[in-house]
Amino acid sequence: MGPKIVVKNVYFTYGDGTEALHNVSMEIASYQIFVLFGPARAGKTTLLRLFNRLSDLIENATVQGQILFNGRDIFERGTDVIDLRRRIGMVFAIPTPLPGSIRDNITYGLRMAGIRNRDELESRVERSLTQAALWNEVKDRLDKPASALSGGQKQRLCIARSLALEPEVLILDNPTSGLDPLSTAMVEESLHELKQRYTIIMVPHSVQQAARVATTAAFMLDGEIIEVGSADQIFGQPQVKQTEDYVTGRFG
């Protein structure tokens, strides 16, 4: 089986002329946690948003290069973007439950995907919430507003919302940014479970978190990939000076 996602010579320029990605190439294998780390403005989020083409929303931006998902270029004419987004789920830095109850939040996406069967919806709600390690905390109040949850719970709800669609890839953009250490630990815990069944691409909150969760890691700086390798290599014996400096905290 080939890699899940292949990025080939991708350049990305915003409407105002800022180049956010410069000749980015890498391969992401299945069933692992691929961590994308680096200082602010390195292009991590821009790259993540290309994977599910949320970048389409940015007006006047230009993309060059290829991103292959299961071997097919997602920028190809005729790509079903909606389907792509169902296969590549995404969780954002700021947990944003949609208006409505906890249950609604999970079933939104499912209904939009055309799943109407009540039993099917129910079982997916339970399964996804369990996978996101939230089920026990909310099983008695599924019809309460999602906005009443705590920050950590909201974020796990967002993860569950993506998982309910049974995606192939789960993208997490700094999912623990606003969470306390305990909630962070719970999210990280659930990630380790999830990598058995999903391919996870994640921008971590810190180098420490990157080292804790990564299977493979890529270090980004100023829109370029500096070094990609196994977690052991990147955090143990980085080959490139810049990576070493960053990982050991000498800059950044």
Binding site: I82, T96, A113, K144
Partner: protein, 320 residues
């Protein structure tokens, strides 16, 4: 001489001493209190003024309700010269024109706002938004002209007995309410966090689904506000309506073609007849009575709408 000089110096110092504590006295606390008082005063004055307006309306209009039997007051004959003061036709006139305006303006206004805020590319937005603001600045009398000259012939050619009908009034009013509805709705849509849209799109919602299921519910209270303000502008409008509704103070038949008949609104009646009545006469009182009815109707609409929005917000646990 030296003495005098010393005296002056001492005096200056004395004044300085007295002034400085004064400054401190003002800066700390008292200034705060003063500003608070001013703000409180301006806030309270608004309430007092509204109260006074209402009292004045009551004083001038209440006799109408006392002197004329209610059956007659809400009867269907409005012939003030012969002593018939039935305001029912005016009430129906106002309701028909306003309801028509709402039916036309609300869907049009909201969809325009959604288009502008969610769908239109930047360059179109940049052209359309200023245009809509210009629309808001058109004096109502000019719209009245437009209705008279341009719209009425079209309505007449549709088969109405005359071009000056309730429908003509509704269209003009809708046009007046549109800029308000559009610009406030657009603000409400703009205020919906971008993360909501990202979140919805990321779970495979189409643009339309995102708008319908996430953005609109999230902007609900702002949209309701926009509609209310738009309607508020329409319901109290007088001049334009007076010009184009035909001003016939009778109810034709309560049929489906009601909008295609001339009607007269409450506001138009007050404006048209106020100049001709003797102050203190029954007719004068009745005109104020109409004012009270208008006040009550508007207040009721505001109250109901406020409740509706409020209950939705509460049901959603404080989040919109």
């Amino acid at each position: 001489m030296a003495n005098l000089n010393d005296f002056a110096k001492a005096r200056t110092a004395q004044i300085a001493l007295r002034v400085r504590p004064m400054g401190v006295w003002l800066r700390r606390g008292r200034l705060e209190t003063l500003i608070e008082l001013l703000i409180r005063l301006s806030g309270v004055s608004t309430i007092v003024i509204v109260g006074l307006i209402f009292l004045f309306l009551l004083r001038e209009g209440l006799p109408a309700f006392l002197d004329i039997p209610l059956r007659q007051l809400f009867g269907s004959r409005w012939y003030p010269i012969e002593g018939f003061y039935g305001i029912w036709p005016l009430l129906v006139g106002s309701l028909v024109v306003t309801a028509g305006a709402i039916v036309i303006a609300v869907p049009l206004g909201l969809t325009t706002a959604v288009y502008l805020g969610e769908i239109a590319p930047v360059w179109q937005r940049e052209i359309l938004k200023p245009l809509i603001e210009v629309l808001a600045g058109i004096p109502s009398i000019v719209l009245g002209f437009l209705g008279w000259v341009a719209l009425a012939p079209i309505i007449q050619s549709l088969g109405a007995p005359t071009g000056l009908t309730a429908l003509t009034g509704s269209l003009i009013l809708a046009y007046m309410a549109l800029p308000t509805i559009i610009s406030i709705s657009e603000d409400a849509l703009y205020a919906v966090p971008k993360e909501y849209r990202d979140g919805a799109l990321a779970i495979g919602a189409t643009q339309w689904q995102t708008i319908w299921r996430v953005v609109l519910p999230a902007a609900r209270s702002g949209l309701a506000m926009a509609v209310m303000l738009g309607i508020g502008r329409a319901i109290g409008e007088t001049m334009a309506v007076m010009m184009v509704t035909g001003n016939a103070a009778f109810i034709p038949d309560l049929g489906l073609d009601l909008p295609l008949h001339p009607v007269r609104t409450m506001t138009a009646t007050i404006a048209a007849e106020m100049g001709e009545v003797a102050q203190g006469s029954l007719h004068y009182n009745v005109l104020f009575g109409i004012g009270i009815v208008l006040f009550v109707v508007t207040f009721a609409i505001n109250l109901v709408a406020g409740r509706l929005v409020g209950s939705v917000v509460r049901r959603r646990g404080g989040q919109l």
